[in-house]
C-alpha cells in the first residue's frame, strides 16, 4: 500500500539502483533510503520520489519485470517479499539484450 500519511511510515530500507535506471530519471541517486515493509512498498516509495520509476521496474501483472532482479539478503525477491528495518536491497538489471 502506498504510504498516504494516514499510517506510521515503515522503517527505512537501503536500496541500490542500477546505473541504467538512473539515466532515465535525472537526479535519481544510486543508493537511497526509503520507508517500506515489502518490496512492493519499496517500489511505491521509489515511484513517489521519482514518478514513473515503478513502471520501469514492474509490469502490470503486477510483478517485477522479467529482466530486473531484486535481491534481498542475497535472495531473489518478489513484490511480496518482506523487508525488515535496515535491509539492504539491490535492484539489478539481468542479462538480456541483442
Amino acid at each position: 500500500m502506498p504510504n498516504d500519511g494516514s499510517a506510521p511510515a515503515s522503517p527505512p530500507v537501503s536500496v541500490t539502483l542500477p546505473r541504467a535506471l538512473l539515466n532515465l530519471f535525472p537526479g535519481a541517486e544510486r543508493r537511497v533510503e526509503v520507508p517500506a515493509s515489502t518490496v512492493g512498498e519499496m517500489m511505491d516509495a521509489l515511484d513517489a520520489r521519482w514518478p514513473g520509476m515503478r513502471d520501469r521496474l514492474c509490469d502490470s501483472r503486477p510483478a517485477i519485470r522479467r529482466h530486473i532482479n531484486v535481491f534481498v539478503d542475497g535472495e531473489r525477491a518478489t513484490l511480496r517479499t518482506p523487508l525488515t528495518p535496515g535491509t539492504e536491497v539491490f535492484v539489478i538489471t539481468a542479462i538480456t539484450g541483442g
Binding site: 541504467a20 532515465l24 513502471d55 502490470s60 501483472r61 519485470r65 530486473i68
Partner: protein, 360 residues
C-alpha cells in the same frame, strides 16, 4: 522562408535524426537518443514539431519518449499505458499517430491507447480489444502488434488500425465499436477455401491517400491492395509488381494516385529485394501500373529488407522519398524516386523512417 528537413529514424538501438537542407543534398546525423532503447516508431507531430519515439526496452518495458526541442533533450512516460492486472502486460509500443487533438499509440499485444496531454499519460481505447473476434487474432512474426494507425483527417470519430495478424479494423464512434474491413484481401496461409475470412489477414502496412480519406492502400503479407470506400472492399493492385510480398507502403504527400512500395522476394524466400537488386516501385495511377525506380540503388548482391514503418515521404516540392534497411542503411531520393543515394550507413537495424519539415 528557408526550410530544413529532419529524417527521424527508429532503430533497434535508439532514435537517430538526420538534419538535411531543403535541397536534401547534405545531411548530418545525430544520435543515438532514447538511451539506445529498441524503438519501433519515431514520428513528429507537424502541428507542434514535437518528436515522439515508441518502443520497449528488455529491462525497463514499454514507453513513449518525447522531445520538444528537435531531439536535444528527451523525457519518457508510460503512465496509463497498461492493461488490467492479470492480463499479458504490454511488451512494446509499435506505432504512433497524432490526430483528433491527441496522440494515438498502438501496442503489443495489440491494443490502442490515446494521450490527450502530449504523451504524458495514456488511456486505453478498450473497445478494440473487446471485439468478439479477438480470440481469433493470431500473432505474426513480430508478435500480435497494432502497427498501422490512421486517424481520419476531418472526422474525430473515425480511426483505422492494422493488426498482424487480425487485419484492418475501423471505428466510426470514437473507438467504442470496431468493424473488420478485410473484404477482398487474401489469407494464403489459411486452408484452401478459407482464404477470405472476416478477420485474420496479415496486413503489413496501411496508408491513406493524401486528400482522399476513403482511399486506402495496403501492403499485405499476401498481396497489395487499394480501397476506395474506406476499406469496406479491397481490390488487388499487385499485377505488374515482382512479388506479392513486402512490408512498407508510402503515399505521395500530394497526389492520391501515387504510391511507393518496396516489394521483397517472398515470405519463405529470404525476404530481401527480388533478384538481390534494390528497387522502389511507384504507381502514378492508383496501382493500375507500376514502374521500378533503381537509379542510384545497389543492383548487385543486395540482401537487405525494409520493414513496415521504414519508408516515408517528405512534403517538399518535389517530394523526397526515404527508406531504411534492416542492415542499417538509409537511402534518399529528392526527386520523387527518380534517383537515389545512400545518406547513412552502418546504423542499427532501421525500424521506422518519418520526416519533419521545419523553418531553417
Amino acid at each position: 522562408m528557408a526550410k530544413r528537413v529532419l529524417i527521424l529514424l527508429g532503430t533497434k538501438k535508439g532514435a537517430f535524426i538526420l538534419d538535411g537542407d531543403a535541397e536534401r543534398r547534405s545531411f548530418a546525423l545525430r544520435g543515438p537518443f532514447c538511451e539506445t532503447w529498441p524503438l519501433n516508431h519515431v514520428i513528429a507531430d507537424p502541428a507542434t514539431g514535437t518528436i515522439y519515439a515508441a518502443g520497449g526496452d528488455a529491462w525497463f518495458g514499454a514507453a513513449v519518449w518525447k522531445s520538444e526541442d528537435l531531439g536535444a533533450s528527451w523525457t519518457h512516460s508510460s503512465e496509463g499505458l497498461a492493461y488490467q492486472e492479470g492480463e499479458e502486460p504490454i511488451n512494446t509500443v509499435w506505432s504512433l499517430a497524432p490526430g483528433h487533438g491527441g496522440l494515438y499509440a498502438g501496442v503489443q499485444p495489440a491494443g490502442l491507447f490515446r494521450s490527450d496531454d502530449g504523451g504524458g499519460s495514456w488511456r486505453h481505447v478498450a473497445g478494440l480489444r473487446d471485439h468478439p473476434t479477438r480470440p481469433h487474432w493470431q500473432p505474426g512474426g513480430a508478435g500480435l502488434i497494432l502497427h498501422s494507425l490512421i486517424p481520419h483527417p476531418d472526422d474525430e470519430r473515425q480511426v483505422w488500425v492494422g493488426i498482424s495478424s487480425a487485419g484492418v479494423f475501423h471505428t466510426e464512434d470514437g473507438g467504442a465499436t470496431w468493424e473488420p474491413r478485410n473484404r477482398g484481401t487474401r489469407a494464403d496461409f489459411m486452408p484452401e477455401g478459407q482464404n477470405y475470412p472476416e478477420v485474420g489477414q496479415c496486413v503489413h502496412c496501411l496508408v491513406m491517400a493524401q486528400g482522399m480519406p476513403d482511399r486506402l492502400y495496403q501492403q499485405n503479407h499476401c498481396g497489395m491492395y487499394r480501397s476506395d470506400d474506406g476499406g469496406r472492399g479491397w481490390k488487388s493492385i499487385e499485377a505488374g509488381l515482382p512479388s506479392s510480398f513486402g512490408f512498407p507502403a508510402a503515399a505521395h504527400p500530394r497526389d492520391p494516385e501515387t504510391l511507393y512500395l518496396l516489394p521483397l522476394n517472398g515470405d519463405i524466400a529470404g525476404r530481401y529485394v527480388p533478384d538481390a537488386r534494390a528497387a522502389v516501385w511507384r504507381t502514378r495511377d492508383g496501382g493500375e501500373s507500376w514502374h521500378a525506380l533503381r537509379e542510384g540503388l545497389p543492383q548487385e548482391n543486395v540482401f537487405f529488407g525494409v520493414l513496415r514503418q521504414a519508408m516515408a515521404t517528405d512534403p517538399l516540392e518535389p517530394a523526397g522519398i526515404y527508406f531504411g534497411t534492416n542492415s542499417g542503411s538509409l537511402y534518399a531520393s529528392a526527386d520523387e524516386g527518380e534517383s537515389w543515394r545512400c545518406i547513412a550507413q552502418h546504423l542499427p537495424l532501421i525500424t521506422s523512417v518519418e520526416t519533419l519539415v521545419v523553418e531553417a
